[in-house]
């Protein structure tokens, strides 16, 4: 299959990208790694009139520490995140989520910025980044704005990103040494999209009291879903003695729960609490030192 014809631009700077976006508006589609966009174009699910290809734009690929934050260039590949020693040490949740995307070849080309901007409801990053409290840097002609991940995802494949803006950086707070974490993805086969995914962060103080908790599900609704009931059931409790299975049963999926040929909404409602329990068990085990961080 061959995509429909398009006008092609391969600018060599971010400024040039922004000028093209300003000139062509919604006609112009940005291509980062192309691992979602190109298959959609081949299947004619997308037929953009104009492609602005980012591969020649230098920079935006580093993963670096800045104070208590890790700053990830939007063109960093999933592979770069998966292999990053910095993420393994300071934010392993995100590295694990990256390593479970697609397959090795897709991870070699696909980028975090492309995946985030694409906002596939079954993608790995959105729940992970919402749980982590990440922020996205959106650059336009007039300057930059910083949008929290929780506000960025608006609907299926729809985000805060304006047609004239470029996502340049993802900022993630580094995890503390005592923070328990887990990211897990339930899928039919390893390279498949998630049927349900869970990102969990559990912070406990010296006596094992839960001082912070984030549990966010992916692939169950149009945007990442925070499991507020589960978080409320555990906040302030002794996590090492908590009934995690009971807490996980507070997972409540909404009326807009995704339903498809591989997993209908009823199935997702059934397995989501199981996935949440497993994620909590791993996160609590890490928070209490019973599992390698």
């Amino acid at each position: 299959m061959i995509p429909r014809g398009f006008e092609y631009h391969d600018p060599t700077s971010a400024d040039e990208v922004l000028s093209l976006l300003a000139e062509h508006g919604e006609d112009a589609k940005l291509m980062a790694g192309g691992q979602s966009l190109l298959p959609m174009m081949k299947l004619r699910m997308a037929s953009p009139a104009r492609i602005v290809d980012l591969w020649r734009v230098p920079g935006f690929r580093d993963i670096r520490e800045s104070g208590d934050e890790i700053r990830i260039g939007a063109l960093a590949t999933h592979r770069a995140l998966e292999d990053s020693k910095l993420l393994q040490a300071r934010c392993p949740l995100l590295g694990k989520a990256a390593g479970l995307i697609g397959d090795p070849q897709v991870r070699n080309l696909g980028t975090i910025g492309g995946a985030v901007a694409h906002a596939d409801p079954s993608a790995n990053y959105p729940p992970a980044l919402v749980a982590l409290g990440a922020k996205f840097v959106l650059r336009g002609k007039g300057g930059e704005r910083v949008v929290p991940a929780a506000d960025f995802f608006r609907d299926l494949f729809a985000t805060e990103l304006r047609p004239t803006e470029l996502l340049t950086e993802i900022r993630v707070p580094a995890l503390g040494a005592r923070d328990g974490w887990e990211y897990l993805k339930l899928s039919r086969r390893a390279p498949d999209f998630a049927l349900v995914s869970v990102a969990a962060l559990v912070r406990a103080n010296g006596t094992g009291d839960c001082t912070g908790i984030d549990v966010v599900l992916g692939s169950v609704g149009p945007v990442p879903l925070r499991a507020s009931g589960v978080e409320a059931a555990l906040r302030g409790k002794r996590v090492d003695r908590a009934d995690l299975a009971a807490a996980a049963r507070a997972t409540a999926l909404g009326a807009n729960t995704l339903s498809d040929v591989h997993a209908d909404a009823a199935y997702r409602r059934e397995v989501a609490p199981v996935c949440v329990r497993r994620a909590l068990e791993a996160a609590v085990a890490r928070a209490t030192g019973r599992m390698a961080r």
């Binding site: 299959m1 061959i2 995509p3 429909r4 014809g5 398009f6 006008e7 092609y8 391969d10 980062a32 790694g33 192309g34 691992q35 190109l38 298959p39 081949k42 299947l43 492609i51 290809d53 591969w55 020649r56 230098p58 690929r61 063109l75 960093a76 590949t77 592979r79 770069a80 697609g102 397959d103 090795p104 070849q105 897709v106 070699n108 080309l109 696909g110 980028t111 390893a190 390279p191």
Partner: protein, 177 residues
């Protein structure tokens, strides 16, 4: 608008004009350069039969625009053997009967090639994860895994001398799309 691209494939430089931006790398390799080792299987980024190395990274050439390889290096299955001598991974597939129909084989070997560069002594689980992006509908993967393990042992016994055959250590700063 048509483009002219300049690319080194299997060590040989090609300058090709009249490349439409929508042309896919796999079609460029097969139809323009007549390198038909990379196969078109699913054509939807699933099966990995079209896998080639782009600047020492395994990629699915059905999901890369040909214009993106301008100024870069590509290695296909045709570039693995040196002076008529099979690469150890190719030998492994022969020795351990790692194929039946052979359709997936070039892609399997290119993925294995990247895997063994990254991780010269993979466990069986790591081998299986390394070929997550490649589908075989004949062998059930057992002999493919054995073939890659055979190659890893052979390459280790040669002191890793063969690692450079699949694109070497060269990494381009902009090689990640």
């Amino acid at each position: 608008m048509m483009r002219t691209i300049s690319v080194v494939v299997n060590g040989k430089k090609y300058v090709e004009g009249g490349v439409e931006p929508r042309m896919l790398l796999v079609h460029f390799l097969r139809d323009r350069l007549r390198l038909t080792g990379a196969h078109v299987g699913c054509d939807t980024t699933s099966c990995g039969a079209c896998t080639v190395m782009l600047d020492a990274r395994a990629v699915k050439s059905c999901t890369v625009l040909a214009v993106r390889v301008d100024g870069r290096e590509v290695t296909t299955i045709e570039g693995l053997a040196t002076n008529g001598k099979l690469h150890p991974i190719q030998e492994g597939f022969q020795h351990e009967h790692g194929l039946q129909c052979g359709y997936c084989t070039p892609g399997m070997i290119m993925s294995a090639s990247e895997l063994l560069q990254r991780n010269p002594r993979p466990t069986e689980d790591e081998i299986r994860a390394g070929i997550d992006g490649n589908l075989c509908r004949c062998t059930g993967y057992h002999n493919i895994v054995k073939s890659i393990r055979w190659a890893a042992e052979k390459m280790a016994s040669q002191g890793g001398a063969s690692a450079s055959a699949a694109g070497g250590e060269k990494r381009n700063a902009s090689d990640h799309g």
